[in-house]
């Protein structure tokens, strides 16, 4: 209820802003909504959303999978940590734009270059978060699994993974928001479709309505993923915690 009221307040503020600044600078919520419906009717909206979502999905999965593996290795083996740390610092501080431009220069304006550029941007933060998780793993439980001769995969699934779950959730959360923002830049710079491409066109035409239309549509999609995918998984993973009455 409170969330809805807060949302209503946002829409009201938007309306007032639009009224004072004028439709040109900030179109009213109703104007944007009409455009959303029009774009949805023509199929354009879904086409671009799908293109962007596909890139987000691939880049996110790639970065999370590789990031988790590297993070685990670095958190558990001191030598790998020492060897990998300088690389990590370099990657962490490399501006997203540099990675994207280099990827396009080296790989051409291709889909693979685009997705890889996004994944490389997300990778180091995933590594850092998972590494923290791997460092915090409980040695006593490892010993238990070892003494009882639990098979490797089983021990990973039931002993290690649940301990990493909060770290993976944190990495996924921040990752999702980071990845979709970077995907938009990648699309703006070198892809012929997607939300970023559309916003680029709208920018050249100074079409604020169009910019807001696509931004809004994508925010709704991300919110839906957060509510219907990320949160249920998190609830399931933390159901063992005793609820404080």
């Amino acid at each position: 209820m409170l969330r809805l009221a807060s949302l209503a307040l946002l829409v009201t503020a938007w309306s007032i802003g639009s009224w004072t600044a004028g439709e040109q600078m900030l179109p009213a919520p109703t104007t944007v909504l009409t455009t959303v419906i029009a774009e949805a009717r023509s199929g354009e909206l879904f086409f671009h959303l799908a293109a962007t979502l596909a890139r987000v999905a691939v880049a996110f999965t790639l970065a999370m999978t590789i990031g988790t593996m590297i993070g685990l290795a670095m958190g558990r083996v001191a030598l790998i940590d020492r060897l990998g740390d300088p690389w990590l610092v370099v990657l962490l501080n490399l501006p997203a734009l540099v990675v994207i431009v280099l990827a396009y220069v080296w790989g051409g304006l291709t889909e693979i270059a685009a997705v890889l550029a996004v994944a490389v941007n997300k990778l180091p933060t995933a590594v850092v978060t998972v590494r923290e998780g791997a460092r915090a793993l409980d040695a006593a439980l490892d010993e238990m699994a070892h003494v009882f001769a639990m098979p490797r995969w089983k021990a990973f699934r039931h002993v290690v993974l649940p301990q990493l779950a909060p770290y993976l959730a944190a990495a996924a959360r921040s990752g999702l928001s980071l990845v979709w923002k970077i995907v938009l830049i990648v699309e703006l710079l070198g892809r012929p479709n997607g939300v970023g491409f559309e916003i680029g066109i709208a920018f050249q035409l100074f079409d604020v309505t169009r910019i807001l239309t696509y931004a809004l549509a994508f925010v709704v999609v991300i919110l839906a993923i957060e509510t219907f995918v990320v949160q249920p998984i998190e609830r399931r993973a933390s159901r063992w915690r005793t609820r404080t009455a």
Binding site: E143, M144, H158
Partner: protein
């Protein structure tokens, strides 16, 4: 170090630890164990009794195979035939009681588990998470988990420490019952002489650090037929042995 899986010796468990040292933070090395020799026949219950901090847990970790940095040899059953009850319950907080037990004992059948949960009075708690249990209950789950494996060798590291006396005594009786029923070889570590006298077929008395075995006391009397006077006699014998060891030309 040298680990082996029963190379034809006479015992199910044969432990020979010449030396175990730790490197402490200041860079010096600290000798924890020296000249430990211990053999348990199949089905025997051995109890290691020693003062706190003498290196009992270290010894148990070496025997369990989780510490391989020592001079000596250990002959133990192969992996999967070993179970351990740690000083803390060490349950997986994110798995139910039932899953905690089944995860380490995938081959345990339902009838056996039901009997085990019943004996340890856990049948009401099978779907609970460890966070919802008292320490006493969690310790019972740790016992159930170890027995569910149906190990050849069961190791217990002060399994009843920090429980109140009445509860500790009850759990001790339950343990004695389970050990008698299954006839598995058991090695228990404790600083509590009463507990040791209740459970042991063979007592090993340990010195302070660096720990070595000062005396080995076999108790031929079956566990169930031990009376209070029997136990008092055994305790007197232990006291005598310890006094003799301390008076003798032991290391200063």
């Amino acid at each position: 170090m040298n680990d082996a899986h029963r190379a034809g010796g006479q015992g199910l468990l044969e432990v020979l630890i010449a030396r175990k040292t730790y490197r402490i933070a200041s860079g010096q090395s600290l000798e924890v164990l020296r000249g430990i020799a211990l053999t348990l026949a199949r089905g025997e219950v051995g109890v290691l009794v020693g003062p706190s901090g003498c290196g009992k847990t270290t010894m148990l970790r070496i025997i369990a195979g989780s510490d391989t940095d020592y001079d000596g040899t250990v002959v133990r059953p192969p992996p999967g035939k070993l179970a351990m009850v740690f000083q803390e319950p060490r349950l997986l907080p994110w798995r139910t009681v039932d899953d905690n037990v089944r995860l380490v004992a995938p081959r345990a059948d339902e009838a056996m588990l039901a009997m085990l949960f019943d004996t340890l009075e856990l049948d009401q708690h099978r779907s609970h998470y460890p966070g919802e249990l008292s320490l006493g209950l969690a310790r019972r789950v740790a016992l159930a988990r170890a027995f569910a494996v149906e190990p050849e060798l069961l190791l217990l590291d002060e399994p009843f420490v920090s429980l109140d006396d009445a509860l500790a005594a009850r759990l001790r009786d339950e343990l004695a019952m389970l050990v008698d029923r299954s006839a598995m070889t058991t090695l228990l570590v404790t600083h509590d002489v009463d507990e040791a006298v209740c459970l042991a077929d063979r007592l090993f008395l340990l010195s302070p650090r660096p720990a070595h075995i000062v005396a080995e006391v076999p108790i031929p009397l079956p566990r169930r037929s031990r009376t209070a006077t029997d136990m008092a006699t055994i305790k007197a014998e232990i006291a005598r042995q310890l006094a003799a060891a301390n008076a003798g030309p032991a290391a200063p």
